[in-house]
């Protein structure tokens, strides 16, 4: 039995892996926005794109170098890249993975301080998510299902979905990211929802998710606290 490695425990960088065996759950949208929220809070963030479709990398090209920075990586190189990025000053590293990618998901989760599993609140998606929960359980990483792309006003759906996840032995993130047109418009324009509609609901929900993630990672959520620390 091998012990999971922690390649970056000697640095202050924190790593979040976004994994889900099912496509269309909004992995890249979540990854982009989590990295962007960290940048907005004054952190140096890096998004590692392990998806051969390179959606996040394409988005970064559209942004012409505006942060957050995106680099690609083949799955076996993820641990080395995290260690190097931490040495180069990265504070929050987000890893986006493709669906049905056991090696990428496993490598990313293995390196992560926090695993987020975006999932639509639908029966098919929840059933597929069970295998992802098994993977992170095996790697003993703190993992949370984040409900994404569902209807904004449907408390009963989310309550049922939470119950199902609990039945699988999984935990759910208290922040829900419902389907919002702002995500589609922003990403298609090489933007984030913070740039497209800073006062909008999507921006507010992402900000809440970022603050919740910082709490999970034991990171300060305010720039002035970090500077005085």
């Amino acid at each position: 039995m091998t012990t999971p490695s922690h390649p970056h425990t000697h640095t202050s960088a924190r790593t979040v892996a976004i994994i889900s065996q099912k496509g269309g759950a909004g992995k890249t949208t979540l990854a982009i926005h989590l990295a962007a929220a960290a940048t907005r809070a004054g952190r140096i963030s890096l998004l590692i794109d392990t998806d051969p479709q390179a959606s996040a990398s394409q988005w970064a090209e559209w942004r012409q170098g505006a942060p957050p920075e995106v680099i690609d990586s083949a799955p076996p190189r993820i641990p080395a890249k995290i260690a190097a990025a931490a040495q180069q000053g990265a504070e929050l590293i987000v890893i986006d993975t493709p669906p049905h990618a056991d090696l990428a998901a496993s490598k990313a989760a293995d390196c992560a301080d926090l695993v987020l599993i975006p999932c639509r609140p639908s029966a098919f998606d929840l059933a597929a998510m069970r295998t992802t929960i098994r993977l992170v359980e095996l790697l003993a990483r703190p993992a949370f299902v984040v409900f994404t792309a569902g209807p904004p006003q449907a408390p009963h759906i989310y309550a049922d979905a939470r119950e199902l996840v609990a039945g699988f032995g999984g935990q759910t993130c208290p922040i829900i990211l419902p389907d919002r047109a702002a995500y589609r418009h922003a990403v298609a324009a090489g933007q984030t929802v913070f740039e497209l509609d800073p006062g909008g609901k999507a921006a507010n929900e992402i900000e809440q998710l970022h603050m919740w993630a910082c709490e999970q990672l034991h990171m300060s959520t305010f720039a002035h606290e970090r500077k005085s620390a």
Binding site: T2, A85, R134
Partner: protein
Amino acid sequence: MNRFANLADRTPKDEAEATAPASLSPVVQVPTPPSRVGRKAISGYFAPELSLALHTCARRHGLSLQDLMAEAFDDVLRKYGESPIGR
């Protein structure tokens, strides 16, 4: 704002070469890794759930996927009355 550009697998130069016509690309000889010399690849297409189950099983027992598959192939050879080959 390219603090981490040195860590990327693909550089803009690579991208330009990748999109160049094939006839202009030099032929690159990739040496065979020592672990593959004298060996043959066996592959198949399976459900993603089976792939995940094999990866997690290998990891749970501290094995590589290669080790796990070698063990499985030996088991199936025994099952059908053939001699196991081992690695």
